[in-house]
Amino acid sequence: MAPARLGLAPPETGRAPGSPRPSRRPDRATILADFGPLGALVLLCLLFGFLSPQFATWGNVRNVLDSASVLAVIAVGLTFVLLLGAIDLSIEGVMATAALSVALLVANSRNDLDFGFMGVLAAVAIGAGFGLASGLLSTGLKIPSFMTTLGMSAIGIGIATVLFGGVQPALRSPELAEWASGQWFGLTRLTYVAVAVVLIGILVQRYTRLGRYARAIGGAEELALLSGIPVRRYKTLAFTFAGATYGLAGVMVTTQLGSGIVQAGVGQNFAAITAAVVGGTLLSGGRGGVLHSIVGVLIVTVLVNGLVLIGVSPYVQGAVQGVIVVAAVVITAWPLRKRLRVVK
């Protein structure tokens, strides 16, 4: 077994047992991780404010917050999965199924169902069900999460395609439409929904076992296991919570669009991962948190908004996120490089 055991250094952290980190580095790194993203956000705002006169107007701020709200809800859930050191690639599929479910369960143009807000709850529960399935498959069958969630994403998109059935269901529910267009204090109601979800996320992360254990598991799974934390249960729970937020995000997109489409979540998975990583929630687990991810969400949204305002083609957005996420991971992982470190 000896040669195989050599390969067991924690694959993504590189924190081999018995090799303490240099004592001064964590402090500087932590400060950089905590305040670097915030600084980057301020710099970006200043830069775009300088380049485009439209950027710093109330209307545009409202646009940014509006479009950030869906991504923020997703990022809250994703953060818990990333804290574990796992990854979730199922967001587009879960959002698609949730979007079609809610569109078919509330008053709509396709059937006579009208469950009102129970329909919204049902869609969120369906999202949670997807998360539960991803979590159970990852922990029970011991499959890496990127593989299970990639499969779940395809399943979600498939179910959504079947539900879609070639005829787009349009929402006919005035009270739901009110949530997308109605405003409180100049911001749409969905923005407040996002703020509420972020607050819940912060509370869960700070004051519940789910949040505490997620960080412990991501920091050092072996230690968490040895100290008696029911690792599998809390991993599954984190995936379930994340699935519920994706479900809610699917509902939010559907209310914004006024109809349920399979493409409800297209691009959001990558944007959410980018946001989390840029905000300082490391993919290796154990670092970062909801607030970090939210700063990342604002960075990504401001970047997209600003690039459009200064006239960059919208087709480049995905590519820009791709470059940013790889660059961010390269920068954060660079100090951990080692000759014999195994990264798959």
Partner: protein
């Protein structure tokens, strides 16, 4: 036990129950895919005897070609324990680039596009190896970048290809009406098989996939082999994109995007373990045929094509669950 070849018998010396368990697992991985394929073909042949006529067999093989080319390259990356999620979007990018460049470069567009894709793979491989970033993340970023390039280059529209430059990818040749694409794929697979059989490459790939530190200490060119796997994977993706242009007479920025899951499914269903160190080109052929025949079978059985995605998702998870080598993963992230 011929099936417990070089893949790790060494590491299991003096570990009685382990040996039989891993031997059983490897036997299962070798025999199961072939049985599944045979059962599928038999089932479809019973449901529709026309399936076994030469013309329909050629058609099925012909439709398997893009998947086969994509999967042969991506298999190498999985063999060393990584994964390449960018192959489908690279194929789409290649389709756009070749459609754009054929008017200017003619037939030379084909090698140029393959080289461009190989350079893209080189970049991904170098970032993965030098910066030690997990391969799924590098290639996920790559997926976004190459899609962006394809969208930008094409202006998000389909680019038609006229003329006869790419006719060689989609004609029938000889007295038996053999599709040219099948011959091309067969030649490519033969090259893969010869290289893997007669050069140390296969040993390097498998030793890296089995235990990278051990391979490094034994003097295997780990860095070069890993980067080369990404380069070949990307070049194959580019070639598959060109083959797709030959069939649709156009390049489009999302032409091949839906092929990502079938590619991964084909590789793991064929018996190549996602954890690396076990697999090969023969298994990938079987896997690709299983996926292709299943698709035909679903339409014979009258299943609506919108169920296809659900089915790929379930298949990938099930196949990974069966083929994964859990002894290699202390913690599953």
């Amino acid at each position: 036990m011929s099936v417990t070849d070089k893949t790790g018998a060494f590491s299991r010396l003096g570990d009685g129950p382990r040996l039989t368990q891993s031997a059983r697992r490897q036997l299962l991985l070798t025999v199961m895919p072939v049985i599944v394929l045979a059962a599928l073909v038999a089932a479809i042949a019973i449901a529709n005897p026309n399936f076994l006529r030469a013309s329909s067999i050629w058609t099925v093989l012909d439709s398997a070609v893009p998947l086969m080319i994509l999967a042969s390259g991506a298999m190498l990356v999985i063999l060393v324990g990584g994964i390449d999620l960018s192959v489908a979007s690279l194929a789409s990018m290649a389709s756009v680039l070749v459609a754009l460049w054929i008017p200017a470069l003619g037939g030379w567009a084909v090698p140029v596009v393959i080289i461009v894709c190989a350079l893209a793979g080189l970049l991904q491989g170098a970032i993965h190896v030098v910066a030690q970033v997990p391969s799924f993340l590098v290639t996920l970023g790559g997926l976004a970048v190459w899609s962006g390039v394809a969208l930008l280059a094409s202006g998000a529209s389909t680019i038609p290809v006229s003329g006869t430059t790419l006719d060689w990818t989609f004609t029938r040749v000889g007295a038996w009406n053999v599709p040219s694409a099948v011959l091309i794929a067969a030649a490519l697979v033969a090259v893969f098989a010869l290289v893997l059989a007669f050069t140390p490459v296969r040993r390097w790939l498998i030793s890296i996939g089995s235990s990278e530190p051990a391979a490094l200490m034994a003097g295997a060119p780990v860095t070069q082999t890993k980067i080369a796997a990404f380069v070949v994977s990307a070049a194959c993706a580019g070639f598959a994109g060109i083959m797709l242009v030959g069939r649709t007479f156009s390049g489009a920025p999302t032409l091949a995007d839906s092929l990502l899951l079938p590619v991964v499914a084909a590789i793991v269903v064929g018996g190549t373990a996602i954890t690396g160190g076990f697999g090969g080109i023969g298994r990938t052929i079987v896997g690709v045929l299983i996926i292709t025949v299943l698709r035909v079978g679903l339409s014979v059985a009258g299943v609506d094509s919108s169920y296809e995605q659900i089915f790929y998702g379930v298949l990938v998870i099930a196949a990974v669950a069966m083929t994964i080598d859990r002894s290699k993963l202390p913690f599953v992230k």
